[in-house]
């Protein structure tokens, strides 16, 4: 059989200028570039179908006849439409792509965002329980309902272009996909759009001009941080579990070799009653008139290298505070590690009854102490109102500080938290264009 011929030329029945067809035998209507007539071309008896009186000339960014390859299929642009909603406020542009073997596709540009569109031979979609529609394993949410009419035509089409033809439209999104319905009377056409990057379209169709600036977020534009979130959320959860397990494991591994408690009684002496040096056989008092404000533990050995040392302070007080400055002293090197602790305990009765705040006990951990021989020195300072109280200092080694775990968890979580926050703001902006936003309160 002879090779098929798709190209043909004829004269416009209205103005006589040459009109060429790129899909002869397939196209049903074509526009005359000169007089803007729409000519019916289903047979050689060319008839004027309608006349488009466009107030301005719209030049397609991709000229009719341009070829480009999408998903390894070569397509030729054979038609161009500018369509708008029924008010004419939001125009968008559609390019009809043709391949004699693979049929037709569309390239749609709205507010600088591009879509590659394929018609679906399916008339009915079942809504699932949440009011979304399912297609090929994805759930699509209703984004927009409106209408569309043709404002400007260029090139040829496989149907009869009608003037003032208004269609009812519905868009459902599941980025980067969108399902669109177009309905005229009882005829329903569904199509599926895939979001495309403008750079890809520019390269594919070799567009020399500046691409239209993209405004806002398209209904089906994929969100980069959403992808990141989807990819890191489970990994982060696994890290979280693993880190917690490691923490517990290390805690169980570190043998507690030391647990020491030392008690003393703090006595504030009346002014001027400074005892002579060594009068009570204990350490002398310095500037303050206080007994037992400074104590030292016996020397102890830390056997675990870089372990945490828990230092506790307990004071038998009520409605007062006690603070201690600790110094952990290495017997071999004389290096010291300082630590501050404070206990405060207040309570009483008011109109609501008994209340209390604070505690008699506080614990702090010195992390990563090298192994070696140490002693701990405590310097107690107390509420001037306190005259005498018992207190204890406690030391315990082999502690893996919780702080390390919290820091690690924070580091692990900062990527997913950041990704989720960005995804969330992206989705809020996307849905701000929709009447069906899941983020709106429903009042507007």
């Amino acid at each position: 059989m002879a090779a098929g011929k798709l190209l043909s030329n004829f004269q416009c029945p209205n103005c006589g200028s040459a009109v060429s067809l790129r899909a002869t035998g397939i196209s049903l209507s074509v526009s005359c570039k000169n007089c803007r007539s729409i000519i019916g071309v289903e047979n050689e008896n060319y008839k004027i179908l309608s006349q488009f009186e466009a107030s301005k000339t719209v030049t397609p960014l991709i000229p009719i006849g341009t070829r480009g390859e999408i998903e390894s299929i070569l397509f030729e642009v054979i038609g161009f439409l500018e369509r708008t909603d029924h008010l004419g406020y939001h125009p968008w542009r559609e390019y009809l792509l043709f391949n004699p073997y693979h049929g037709f596709r569309w390239l749609v540009e709205a507010k600088g965002h591009w879509s590659y569109v394929t018609m679906i031979k399916k008339t009915v979609f079942q809504k699932n329980s949440s009011g979304e529609i399912d297609y090929q394993g994805r759930s699509y949410s209703l984004f927009d309902e409106g209408s569309a009419k043709v404002r400007y035509v260029w090139g040829e089409f496989y149907w009869r272009i009608k003037r003032n033809q208004e269609l009812v439209t519905k868009d459902y999104v599941s980025p980067p996909y969108m399902l669109s319905l177009e309905q005229e009377n009882s005829e329903i056409v569904w199509s599926q759009a895939i979001y495309q990057k403008a750079e890809f379209i520019q390269k594919t169709f070799n567009i020399q001009q500046v691409m239209p600036y993209s405004i806002g977020i398209a209904p089906h534009q994929p969100c980069f941080w959403g992808t990141v979130w989807d990819e890191v959320k489970w990994v982060s959860l696994c890290f979280l579990i693993v880190l917690t397990l490691i923490h517990c494991f290390l805690n169980s591994l570190n043998t507690q070799s030391l647990s020491h408690t030392q008690s003393a009684t703090y006595i504030a002496l009346p002014k001027g009653a400074v005892p002579s040096k060594g009068a009570f056989g204990i350490q002398p008092i310095r500037e303050k008139d206080v007994l037992n404000s400074e104590i030292e533990t016996p020397t102890f050995e830390l056997k675990n290298n870089f372990t945490g040392l828990e230092v506790g302070l307990w004071a038998d007080i009520s409605n007062a505070w006690v603070a201690s400055t600790f110094e952990l002293v290495n017997c071999d090197t004389d290096e010291t590690i300082p630590l501050e602790s404070e206990v405060a305990n207040y309570n009483g009765y008011d109109s609501d009854g008994y209340w209390s705040e604070g505690s008699n006990r506080v614990s702090n951990t010195i992390s990563s102490v090298p192994k070696g021989r140490y002693f701990l020195r405590a310097d107690i300072d107390a509420d001037p109102a306190l005259k005498k109280f018992d207190y204890q200092i406690m030391i315990k080694d082999g502690i893996i500080p919780l702080f390390n775990l919290i820091l690690a968890l924070f580091l692990v979580l900062c990527i997913p938290i950041f990704a989720y926050w960005r995804k969330w703001s992206f989705e809020v902006e996307r849905w701000s264009e929709s009447d069906y936003s899941p983020f709106s309160t429903g009042e507007d």
């Binding site: 098929g4 011929k5 798709l6 190209l7 397939i26 391949n99 073997y101 049929g103 037709f104």
Partner: protein, 209 residues
């Protein structure tokens, strides 16, 4: 395979399918009808202008792993254009139809089903029509007639014969068609497939592509 002599030009017209009752002589384009042993000529049929299909007689393809060859075609015309129905003959001896319109391809097979003519006539687009345990919805209803036929066919592809073609869609690309003519109502069922899925070979060349 059987051979019948063309009553117009005497050439041997080969029939691949024993189901074929209609053939177009590839030498003189006469339409032949086989009635038992008689062969009747219905006159010549000419190829319409601007007939551009990527498929042609002899095109081979695969469906569900089974190899087929296109041995006949009817080109149907309706108010808004044309479509082709290709008669596909499988190596296994089965026969099906590949419909081709605006770059959409479907394959279907005749199924045994009966319903009242009135019910079929009253179907409207969007309406539910279940048959053989599948819920189909009417996609469109097209009045059409045969514009052209070639190769061999299981029915008489006489040009100008009117019929009503009802296309039905369902989930997962399922497709059905009811062909209602004066003579009888025939039910077909199958699937929409993409062009690459058929793995077509020996396609028609198209200038510039």
């Amino acid at each position: 395979m059987v051979s019948i002599p063309c009553p117009s030009c005497g050439a041997q017209v080969k029939l691949q399918s024993n189901l074929s009752v209609f053939a177009v002589c590839s030498y003189c384009q006469s339409s032949l009808v086989r009635n038992d042993l008689d062969i009747e000529s219905l006159g010549k049929m000419s190829l319409p202008l601007n007939d551009v299909s990527p498929l042609q007689l002899g095109t081979e393809g695969v469906y569900q792993g089974k190899h087929f060859t296109l041995i006949g075609r009817v080109k149907k015309k309706w108010s808004d254009g044309y479509w082709n129905e290709w008669y596909a003959w499988f190596d296994s001896g089965e026969a099906g139809w590949i419909a081709e319109a605006q770059g959409f391809y479907s394959i279907c097979f005749e199924v045994a089903h009966e319903d009242s003519i009135l019910k079929i006539t009253n179907l409207r687009p969007g309406q539910l029509y279940s048959f053989l345990e599948i819920d189909f919805y009417v996609a469109d209803i097209k009045k059409n007639h045969i514009e052209f036929a070639e190769g061999e066919l299981p029915y008489v592809g006489r040009a100008g014969v009117d019929s009503v073609s009802i296309d039905l869609n369902a989930d997962v690309n399922q497709f059905a068609c009811i062909d209602q003519s004066e003579a009888k109502t025939v039910f077909y069922r199958g699937f929409y497939l993409t062009f690459p899925e058929f793995k077509f070979q020996r396609l028609r060349e198209i200038e510039g592509w």
